[in-house]
C-alpha cells in the first residue's frame, strides 16, 4: 500500500514536498498505525498523536482531501494512493504538525466555562434529565480542529470568525440550564463576523469525527438571538 505524506522540516527543507512510503496493510489497521509504520521507517517524520482511540483529539490530519482523526480512520476506507496532508489553512510547523494557536484563541474567546451569579447550593445544582439531554452532541467535542480547519469561512477570517468548534461550545453553554450568562454570551456574538460568517456550508458536520453538528448549534444560537430580540 502506498502512502504519500506531506513533508516539511524548516531546519533542512526550503520548501515542502510529498514523500511516498510503502506500508504493509494489516487487519484492522488505522491511518495512525500506518503513520507510525512510516515513522519506524523514517524517524524524521513528525505528527501529533496520543490516545489512539479518538478521545484526545491530537491526530487530526487531512487525508485524500478530507479532515479526519487518524486513529479512528480505517485504511480500508481510504482509496489509494493515500495522500496525507496537514490541516488546510493552518501554518505548518513541521510535516503534519500545524500551528493551532488561532483555533485555541477562538475557543478561549467564547468564555467556554459555566457562569453563574447565584450562590452555589451545598449539593449539586439540580438539572432534569431532559435539560441535561440538551448538552448531548455538544459537550463531547474533543477540540481536534477537524471542523474549523475544513471551514472556508474560517480559512478567510480565522482572526474574526470564531469557527464551528468554538461556536459549538458557545451553544453548549447557552444550552446549559445551569448557566446564567445568556445575554452576555449573545451580546458578545453580535456583529457581522464572530457568528454570522457561517454560511451553512456544513463542511464541519461532514468531517466531525465525533458525529457532532456545529451547523445546527450555530442555527440554534441565531434562533435564540431572534427570540431575545437582539
Amino acid at each position: 500500500m502506498k502512502v504519500s505524506v506531506y513533508r516539511y522540516n524548516p531546519d533542512v527543507d526550503k520548501r515542502p514536498r510529498m514523500q511516498t512510503y510503502e506500508v504493509r496493510p494489516v487487519q484492522g489497521m488505522m491511518l495512525r498505525d500506518a503513520l507510525l509504520e512510516i515513522k519506524k521507517q523514517d524517524e524524521s517524520f513528525a505528527f501529533r498523536h496520543s490516545c489512539g482511540e479518538g478521545v484526545c483529539g491530537s491526530d487530526g490530519v487531512n487525508v485524500n482531501g478530507k479532515n479526519c482523526l487518524a486513529c479512528i480512520t480505517p485504511i480500508t476506507e481510504l482509496s489509494e494512493p493515500i495522500v496525507v496532508r496537514p490541516f488546510p489553512g493552518r501554518p505548518v510547523i513541521r510535516d503534519l504538525v500545524v500551528d493551532m494557536t488561532q483555533f485555541y484563541e477562538q475557543y478561549r474567546s467564547i468564555k467556554p466555562y459555566l457562569i453563574r451569579n447565584d450562590p452555589m447550593p451545598e449539593q449539586e445544582i439540580p438539572q432534569s434529565p431532559a435539560d441535561r439531554d440538551e448538552l448531548d452532541g455538544l459537550y463531547e467535542c474533543i477540540l481536534c480542529g477537524c471542523c474549523s480547519t475544513a471551514c472556508p469561512s474560517f480559512w478567510w477570517n480565522p482572526e474574526k470568525f470564531h469557527g464551528p468548534a468554538a461556536l459549538l461550545q458557545a451553544w453548549r453553554f447557552l444550552a446549559d440550564t445551569r448557566d446564567q450568562a445568556t445575554e452576555e454570551r449573545l451580546d458578545a456574538l453580535d456583529g457581522p463576523y464572530k457568528l454570522f460568517r457561517c454560511h451553512t456550508i456544513m463542511n464541519c458536520v461532514e468531517v466531525c469525527p465525533k458525529g457532532l453538528n456545529p451547523t445546527r448549534a450555530i442555527g440554534r444560537i441565531k434562533d435564540m438571538m431572534l427570540e431575545k430580540g437582539l
Binding site: 524517524e43 524524521s44 513528525a46 490516545c51 482511540e53 478521545v55 493551532m100 466555562y113 463531547e140 446549559d176
Partner: protein, 587 residues
Amino acid sequence: MSIPTRHFDALIIGAGGAGLNAALQLASADVHVAVVSKVFPTRSHTVAAQGGVNAALANVLPDNWHWHMFDTVKGSDYLGDQDAIEFMCREAIPTVYELEHAGVPFSRLDNGKIYQRPFGGQSQDFGGDQAARTCAAADRTGHAILHTLYQQNIRARTHFFDEFFALDLVRDKEGAICGALVLEIETGEPILIEATAILLATGGCGQIFRTTSNAHINTGDGCAMTLRAGVPLMDMEFYQFHPTGIAGKGMLITEGVRGEGGFLVNKDGERFMERYAPRAKDLASRDVVARSIVTEVKEGRGAGENGDYIYLKLEHLGANVIEKRLPGIRESSRIFAGADPVSQPIPVFPTAHYQMGGIPTDRFGRVVIPAKYGAEEAVAGLYAAGECACASVHGANRLGGNSLLDILVFGRLAGKDIIEYVRTNHSRRETDPVSLEQAMARLTRWDHTGEGVPAHQLRAAFRKCMEDHAGVFRTEEVMAEGYKKLGELRECFKDARLGDQSKVFNTARIEALELENLIDVGLAVAVSALHRKESRGAHSRPDYPKRDDVNWMKHSLYYRDGDRIDYKPVRTKPLTVESFPPKERTY
C-alpha cells in the same frame, strides 16, 4: 551555558486532572503559577477515563463515606494507608459537588441529582449489598471533567506552557529542588523554570507495557525525574491490569459496562465469574476479574480462533441503555473490535492500565522520604499528585472510580497546601550550574551520532520484555529472567542513538527522552515485583499464592541507585474512625 530562565511561585508539570485542579486552586488564589504540559492540556490522558468518579452521595442507593472507605481499604488488599483513604473518601463528596458547580455535565436522575452507577468492589454497610457510588457523565466522565477543569483554568487565567517537555528537576547550591529544565517542543530549545514549589502531576506509565489502555504520552516522566533526584518510588510492583481491554489492542472498555449489567462469558457461554466470585460475580475487584480471565484462557476456555480472549456481553441491556449510558463504548467497540455491542459481544482481555504505586506523598501531596531520624520527612517544596503519586490510597489494587477521585482530591489539596507554602517561603532559590548541567546532559547525550541502537527499537524491545516478565501472573523464574533482560536493555540504552538531529518539533527526540524514563520506571516495577514474595492485590505470584501479613504488610521503596529496595510500614490508623484490620478478601 546561558539558558532563558523564568520564575514562578509554583510550577506544575502535567495538565491532567490533578495538575489542572491544583492549578485552578493556585490561580484562583492569585498565586503566580505555570503549568507545563507536553501536550495541549485537553489531550492529557484523564480525557480517556470513562466510567466515573466515586463519591458516597447516596443519590441512588443508601451510602456513606465510611462504607466507601471500607471498600477502598479492602480493595487495596490492606496495603492502603487508612488515614489517606479516610481523607479521600470524606473529601470525595465536596469534591464532586465542586466539579458539578464548575460545569461538569454529569448524567442526571429523574429528581435532577447526579446519576450514579454500580462499580466493582462497592458495597453498602461494610461488605453487604452492591452500592451505586460512581458519578458518571455517560461513559465519558474523564473527558467531561478534564475539559471543565481546563475551561475553569481559562477563566482563572492560568499560565500554560503547552507542548513543553520536562527534562529533569534542578537543585540550588544547598541541594533543594528549585525548578525544572524544560524543552520547548516546537523550537527544540531548552528553558529553565524556577519556582518555590513544584508539583509533579505527570500521570502513569502504561507505555512500559506493550499492550496497554494508556496513551502514547504515558511514559512515567515525573516518576523517572523523581528517581533521578534520589527519591524512591513506592509500591511499584502493584500495577493494575484492567480486565476488559479490547482483545489484542488494549483499548479500554469501562467497568461501567458490567456496572450497567453486562457480564463476561467464556467460549462455552458460561458466566465464569460465578465460580471465582460467587457473590459479586462480574463486579468483583479488578485484580480478581483480570486473574479469572487469564485463568480461563490458560485453561483452554478462551474464545476466538486462538482461544486467547473472552466475551463481554451487553446485548441484553438493549439499544436504549447502551446509547444513553455507554455511547463511547459502542463507538470504540465498533471501530476497534468490529463488533456492535447492541447485537454482538465484545472480545476482551486484560490490558495494562494503572500504576497503584508512585512518588511517595502524604495526604497533602507533599513528597516524603525516609528521614535520617524519625519516620519520614517532606522534601521541601516538592509535591506530587495523581497517578504518578502514591498517597497511598490504592494500596495493592485500585477500585474502579477511585482514580478520578484520587487525582481530583489530591490535586486540589496539593494546590491548597502549595498556596500556604509559597506564602511562607519567599526567598528565591537559584539553580546550581552543576545541577543544570546534569539536566542538560539528558538532552545533549542525544547529540552524539554514529553507531548505536536506534532508540525506537530499544523502546519496542523494552515494552515487550516488561509484558512477558511482569504481567498478571509472576513467578520467581519468569521475573528473575526478566530482570536480567531489562538490565541488558538498560545497558544497551547507553549506546542508543538518534538519527534525526533536527530541532523543530522533533518527535523522535521526545520519544528518545521518554525512553530513558520508561527504562527507569520499568525497572522500578520489575525490581519491586521480584522482591515481594507474597500475593497481594494486583501482584499475583503462583509460587507464593497467599497474602502474608506478618512479613509483607509493608510498602516497598525502590531506589534507582543500585536497584535498591527498602520498606516502610503501612499506616493502619485512620484519622477519626476505627482501623479496619486485615481480613481474608473474598467477593
